[in-house]
């Protein structure tokens, strides 16, 4: 419900002028472009998702953000710290925890918690990986690690919103919305920003795909996490494509007339939604139908036909990127291991490891990895110290001081390693990286300058990174 602002990046202003000038002709021109006529110039002024020029040469065209909700344990997966086992069960030296913040641990001097998993070096880069990630071994050389991400929010929804929108309270546009606002989409017939959630839908989820003050067209489109991913694709029996085209055209002609009177930007967003919905009726069934995948591909991801899984989501992500979707946000829940971590972490790794490795290989093999940036990480990490629980069901608490994310493809430098944590993996000892730096870097790889990607709202130019953010040095080639 926010009006468009006079901003050079906003397509809506020109769209409004266009509407005022053409009024009734809108539907026909918009629809003409998708049935083969060359109307690109017009398309750009109608469709908020029309591709837009980046600020500078882009390294990546697409993003697949693998969002591990709950905060996976970097210390049991990627950040190898032998000292944890050496000092297992010793109280952590006070020097580490002066000023440290936990969420639930209240012990004055909690005890160090070792990792029961074996770490070995893999690939030409000799990167350490936990034995809980057997499939990732094959692709480890593709990854660019940042081991020292710092956040400040210890509570899930706040940290999630902070990571993806830059503010701990809901209401700002999320990363995917900013990206599609800045670049549009390369897909004419699928949404530019798509979200899939595997596991429990998080408390803050609406906020994590929200357009905030940007046009409603930049809101993430959520696919279903069970059954058929997209419903209602089938036209009523008896209406053919030509009829449907006329119907949508009439709907939008009437909508345009209404827009002309009331000037409500929600109407123009809805017109864009109808144009997209029309196209999706023919494009989306093809997207979600996995029939044309080979058994080898299905097996490599671990997809069981007809069954919802994170593996299926990963495969859908590749299919979306292949079809030009700009930003795919795959969220996977349940990484919040305050207790029984060593019972609950392995099965979750199993669900994640194989499809993620398969996704990277698949993208690479199809030549898509080059311009697809894959990002992996949670909203924070987990503590090197134990969170005591009854019945020895020990866990790790939220860790905001330093955690690991990795990037692959899309200009990320394979084998790079940014930042290092101390002996216990508690604090950064070199290159502390802020959440806004991650945001700035993702935008940078997409050819967007985080300081220039702004939206004027209530008299102020807003940015994803607010007044912060530096592109991370050393993780792109």
């Amino acid at each position: 419900m926010t009006p468009d602002s006079p901003n050079s990046c906003s397509p809506s202003v020109s769209r409004r002028q266009f509407l005022e000038e053409c009024g009734i002709g809108l539907g026909s021109i918009a629809l003409a472009s998708q049935v083969g006529h060359d109307a690109q110039a017009t398309e750009a002024s109608i469709n908020p998702m029309a591709p837009k020029l980046a600020h500078f040469a882009a390294r990546a065209k697409h993003v697949i953000y693998l969002f591990m909700m709950g905060g996976p344990s970097q210390l049991d997966l990627f950040d190898y710290k032998p000292a944890l086992n050496k000092y297992h069960d010793h109280p952590i030296p006070m020097s580490y925890i002066e000023g440290a913040r936990f969420e639930q641990i209240r012990e004055k001097q909690p005890k160090i918690l070792g990792s029961p998993y074996k770490f070995k070096q893999y690939g030409e880069t000799g990167t350490f990986l936990s034995d809980r990630l057997p499939f990732m071994q094959d692709v480890v050389d593709e990854l660019a690690f940042v081991r020292t991400i710092r956040t400040y929010e210890t509570v899930h929804p706040l940290a999630q919103l902070f990571l993806l929108t830059g503010l701990k309270t809901a209401g700002r546009p999320s990363l995917g919305s900013w990206v599609t606002y800045g670049l549009g989409s390369e897909s004419e017939d699928l949404p530019g920003f798509v979200s899939l959630v595997h596991g429990a839908v998080p408390q803050a989820h609406d906020g994590l795909i929200s357009n905030g003050f940007l046009s409603s067209s930049y809101h993430g489109v959520a696919l279903r996490n069970q059954g058929t991913p997209i419903l209602n694709l089938q036209r009523p029996a008896g209406i053919n494509a030509a009829d449907e085209q006329q119907i949508i055209q009439a709907i939008n002609t009437l909508n345009a007339a209404r827009f002309k009177r009331s000037q409500d930007p929600e109407i123009s967003a809805r017109m864009a939604a109808y144009e997209l919905a029309f196209k999706m009726q023919s494009s989306a069934p093809d997207l979600i139908d996995l029939e044309d995948e080979t058994q080898t591909t299905l097996d490599s991801y671990g997809v069981e036909p007809g069954k919802a899984s994170f593996a299926r989501d990963c495969l859908l992500a590749r299919r979306m990127v292949e079809r030009g979707v700009r930003f795919v946000q795959l969220s996977m829940g349940d990484w919040d291991h305050h207790g029984s971590i060593f019972r609950d972490l392995p099965p979750l790794c199993q669900q994640m490891d194989q499809p993620v490795a398969a996704l990277l290989k698949d993208l690479k093999q199809r030549g898509l990895l080059e311009d697809t940036l894959v990002v992996w990480g949670g909203e924070f990490g987990r503590t090197p110290v134990a969170q005591p629980q009854m019945n020895a069901a020990i866990g790790r608490d939220h860790h905001v001081h330093s955690f690991t994310m990795w990037f692959a493809g899309g200009g990320a430098k394979a084998g790079a390693n940014v930042g290092a944590t101390d002996e216990l993996g508690f604090h950064a000892v070199e290159n502390e990286v802020q959440v806004q730096d991650v945001q700035a870097t993702i935008l940078h790889l997409l050819g967007l300058d985080h300081e220039q990607l702004t939206y004027r709202f209530q008299g102020r130019d807003f940015r994803l990174t607010d007044v912060h953010g530096h592109v991370i040095d050393g993780i792109f080639s």
Partner: protein
């Protein structure tokens, strides 16, 4: 020392120039500084009541302390960590808000040794030692001191714990004085307003603000827009063409007021506004969690509808829901009202789960009545929050004393509803029996195939049954045996689960979930860090300190809590309620954070208007309909919703109310409206839940195997408020249009705008059905010409006649589609589902279906203008 003395002289020069009397005092102070004895300073301070003297001494002390500044460093630390208990409350006999208290110490002796932090017990208390966490503040009362704060405290004590003489007592921030929402309110005077733009008091406040900002209000929306707006807002269904015609024919000045009379008298008002209330109550027809079993709470939903229709005073509305069971000679209706609290997580049979449920009840109470996010205090206190953790559990104690019974209710008047479940039950039972007949015939074969091992695995009971001759087996034994025979048949297994679920459902529908107070109170403990398995100190029911007291005889109980909520001095309930209702009419409340009136919430845009409406609500006997009426009668409400170029920059979110706002309708209302427009809405009020069509995969994988009835008859045509809501598997259509999850109180729905919504309105089988019915209605009711039919269709769908452009667009569409259908009659037959009609009739109806579908997809159709 030198610096101290220098400082004093500097101060004195200033003071001296104004008050000669101070000179005498100065001598004492100088002397004391010379001796560097803070005790002397304090002695002098106590002798004097002169504020100037105190100021002077403070300067002295601060100078001596050198590094530590009391007001900026020590005072905030004491305020944030200590004074909630060690202020006027004197916990443990200790108060740290006065210098006297600090020096005196508590029951167990002094807490500081001046000039020696290491010997001061206070430091030990807030630091702990290497193995023990700090004792103070207790984790349920406040956050521990940071190392920097401890250092400040040490330096301060080492410097002699100087106390500024200006501060006789550290004032605890009193929310009742500092934060607008905790202040009492009364009816403010009306600002002047121009008569042309003003219909009632509301407009005075709104226009005063607008004129201060030099902004003109918008003109009134046109009459038909206004009628549709009010009808959708008040009833959630559109005005019919007859309503519109009647309204347009009434040209008297009070035509609008008369239309409002009719709307407020409609029993559908209760349905519309109950839905908003149920969002806050987390109403849903199942338990949630893994099992998501059916909960029979529909009688509570009907109670809300009836209460709103009868305009039950809001004070009674609150009291009956919070504590109806505790009213003298509580009626069944009053007991059912407590169903408000039966939408929480958990199950009262299991203690940790019951406690979780009580926590939910406290959260709902905080959010719904007071817009306080007191849920945060479950785990920790926060210096900005008005409620400490202890207070959270004191409120918890009010709600910790109920048993959660299921009571029998008479449902004889719901025979029609009951029959639907009965029919389903009988249908499944018949299938079950057919399977058993089949198993009977397979029995010998099955028995023969059993190995000894198989036999050994069978339950003892079954083995005994096998031993018995057929005629000696009881029907129950035989049934269990046959269940075993069919145990490997997957379809049978599923059927049996369905049958059991429907049987359980059928039993439960004649019950209601309520609260009932126990005679002997349970004890309530603080849960340290909010963890149920970690009980801390015991607490008693008490009202939060930031809010007014409510005297009771003896220990206050849940009924007193309810009375307190609507007591004349309670600053929140009326304002929160007014704000929520306002929000439904304008998109945003006068306070934007409708779920948070806490200390960090922004002030209202129109504070006096909020106070006015709240004071009127309370002063006029809490009549809710009167409040609604006041709002919808105002010129402010009646304004046009068109965006104005001049407002885009200055007030893009319409906080100043210089216009109305277009609001996308809620999931239920979009569907209700389509049902009404198509002439098929079943307007029956109340009763058991209904199960209109949804795609099969929604129910896949559920632990609870209750079937979705996928009804097609009259039940499928009822309003959305009656649709069964399984928490774990909501209807996909409802999710697309932002229906809340019922996991936590929802006080404002999101209004998203996605292509998935477009796909649903275009293609969902409900909407295909609505288009067909609407088309039939157009053909039957509108007269013969295309023009008249288009006119009727537009009037019905969006409440206004078409413009020439719209008429022309639709007529062209009609011609084109008609040609297309006429050309390929098989498509027309598919669309109409009628193969017997003549080609002409069939093409015509098919085309009207298309026109109907077009109208049901207009942005205007799903928007309140």
């Amino acid at each position: 020392m030198d610096r101290g003395a220098f400082f004093i002289q500097g101060s004195l020069v200033l003071i001296d120039s104004r008050f000669s009397r101070v000179m005498l005092v100065e001598l004492y102070v100088t002397a004391s500084v010379m001796n560097n004895n803070s005790k002397i300073i304090r002695t002098i301070l106590r002798l004097s009541s002169c504020q100037l003297l105190l100021a002077l001494a403070y300067s002295t002390a601060a100078a001596v302390a050198d590094e530590v500044d009391f007001t900026t460093q020590v005072q905030p630390l004491l305020t944030n960590h200590c004074l909630r208990c060690h202020g006027p409350d004197e916990k443990g006999g200790l108060r740290l808000d006065t210098q006297q208290g600090l020096l005196k110490g508590g029951f167990s002796g002094p807490v500081i040794v001046a000039n020696s932090a290491t010997e001061s017990p206070l430091i030990e208390l807030v630091v702990g030692d290497s193995t023990e966490p700090p004792l103070m503040p207790p984790p349920d009362e406040g956050d521990p001191l940071s190392p920097a704060e401890v250092e400040t405290l040490r330096n301060w004590i080492n410097a002699g714990a100087p106390w500024p003489s200006t501060i006789a007592q550290i004032e605890l921030p009193d929310l009742r004085q500092q934060h607008w929402a905790f202040q009492e309110f009364s009816r403010p005077d009306l600002p002047d307003a121009s008569a042309t733009h003003s219909h009632n008091e509301i407009d005075h406040f709104v226009l005063a603000r607008l004129s201060a900002e030099n902004i003109a209000p918008s003109p009134s929306a046109d009459r038909v827009t206004l009628l549709r707006r009010a009808t959708l807002d008040l009833l959630g269904t559109p005005p019919s063409p007859n309503d519109i015609e009647r309204y347009l024919q009434d040209t008297s000045p009070d035509a609008y007021e008369r239309a409002l009379d009719r709307l407020f008298a409609s029993p559908h008002f209760g349905e519309r506004w109950a839905r908003h209330w149920l969002d806050g109550a987390c109403y849903a027809d199942s338990e949630g969690f893994e099992t998501d079993h059916f909960r029979s709470v529909w009688r509570y939903r009907d109670w809300v509808i009836a209460a709103l229709n009868q305009d039950l005073g809001f004070d009674h509305f609150v009291i009956e829901q919070v504590a109806g069971d505790m009213l003298p000679n509580a009626t069944l209706s009053q007991k059912i009202a407590t169903g408000f609290y039966r939408h929480n997580r958990g199950n009262s049979a299991h203690e940790p789960s019951r406690l979780q449920g009580v926590i939910d009840r406290v959260n709902v109470t905080g959010t719904v009545f007071m817009a306080l996010t007191i849920g945060c205090a479950q785990c920790h206190s926060h210096k900005f929050d008005p409620i400490s953790q202890r207070e959270f559990y004191q409120v918890f104690a009010f709600f910790n004393n109920s048993v959660d019974p299921q009571i029998e209710v008479d449902i004889s008047e719901y025979e029609v509803d009951r029959n639907r479940f009965e029919a389903k039950f009988l249908q499944l039972q018949a299938q079950y029996q057919a399977y058993h007949r089949q198993f009977e015939s397979e029995y010998e074969q099955w028995l023969a195939a059993l190995t000894d091992e198989d036999l050994a695995q069978l339950p003892e009971e079954i083995r005994q049954t096998i031993e018995l001759p057929l005629q000696e087996r009881s029907p129950e034994q035989q049934m269990k045996l046959l269940d075993k025979v069919g145990r490997n048949n997957k379809q049978f297994f599923l059927l049996k689960q369905n049958l059991n679920a429907v049987a359980a459902h059928r039993e439960k529908i004649a019950t209601a979930l309520v609260l009932e107070e126990r005679e002997t109170p349970r004890t309530t403990n603080v849960f340290v860090r909010g963890v149920i398995s970690n009980p801390g100190p015991e607490v008693q029911p008490a009202f939060p300190r930031a809010l007014p007291a409510f005297p009771t005889e003896g220990q206050p109980n849940r009924l007193n809590f309810a009375q307190w909520l609507v007591s004349p001095t309670h600053p929140l309930t009326a304002r929160v309620t007014v704000n929520r209702i306002w929000q439904q009419y304008f998109g945003l409340g006068l306070v934007e954070t409708e779920n948070d009136f806490g200390v960090q919430s922004p002030p209202p845009t129109h504070p006096l208007l909020l106070n006015f409406l709240a004071a009127q609500l309370r002063g006029e006997g809490w009549q809710i309909k009167r409040l609604h009426r006041r709002i919808v009668s105002s010129a402010t409400y009646r304004q046009s919703s068109h965006l104005r170029e001049d407002l885009v920059a200055v007030d893009p979110r319409n906080r100043l109310l210089a216009r109305q706002r277009r609001l996308r309708l809620e999931a239920e209302v979009i569907r209700d409206q389509a049902l009404a427009v198509s002439g098929t809405l079943n307007r029956r009020i109340g009763g058991l839940t209904v199960f209109p069509y949804q795609t099969q995969d929604v129910m896949d994988g559920r632990a609870d195997k209750s079937p979705w009835l996928n009804e097609t008859g009259a039940s499928s045509l009822r309003r959305g408020i009656y649709m069964h809501f399984w928490r774990l598997t909501p209807h996909p259509y409802m999710k697309l249009f932002d229906v809340p999850t019922a996991a936590e109180p929802c006080t404002r729905r999101k209004r998203s705008n996605t292509p998935m919504q477009a796909l649903a309105l275009l293609n969902h089988s409900w909407f295909q059905q609505f288009s067909r019915a609407f088309a039939q209605r157009i053909v039957a009711e509108a007269g013969p010409t295309i023009e008249r039919r288009i006119h009727f269709a537009m009037l019905t769908a969006v409440g206004r006649p078409p413009s020439p452009l719209e008429q022309q667009t639709l007529a062209t569409l009609y011609d084109n589609i008609y040609q297309s259908m006429r050309h390929d009659i098989s498509r027309a037959q598919m669309l109409t589902g009628d193969e017997d009609a003549s080609a002409e009739n069939c093409s015509e109806l098919a085309t009207w279906i298309t026109i109907a579908r077009t109208l049901l997809n207009l942005d205007e159709f799903i928007t309140r203008e």
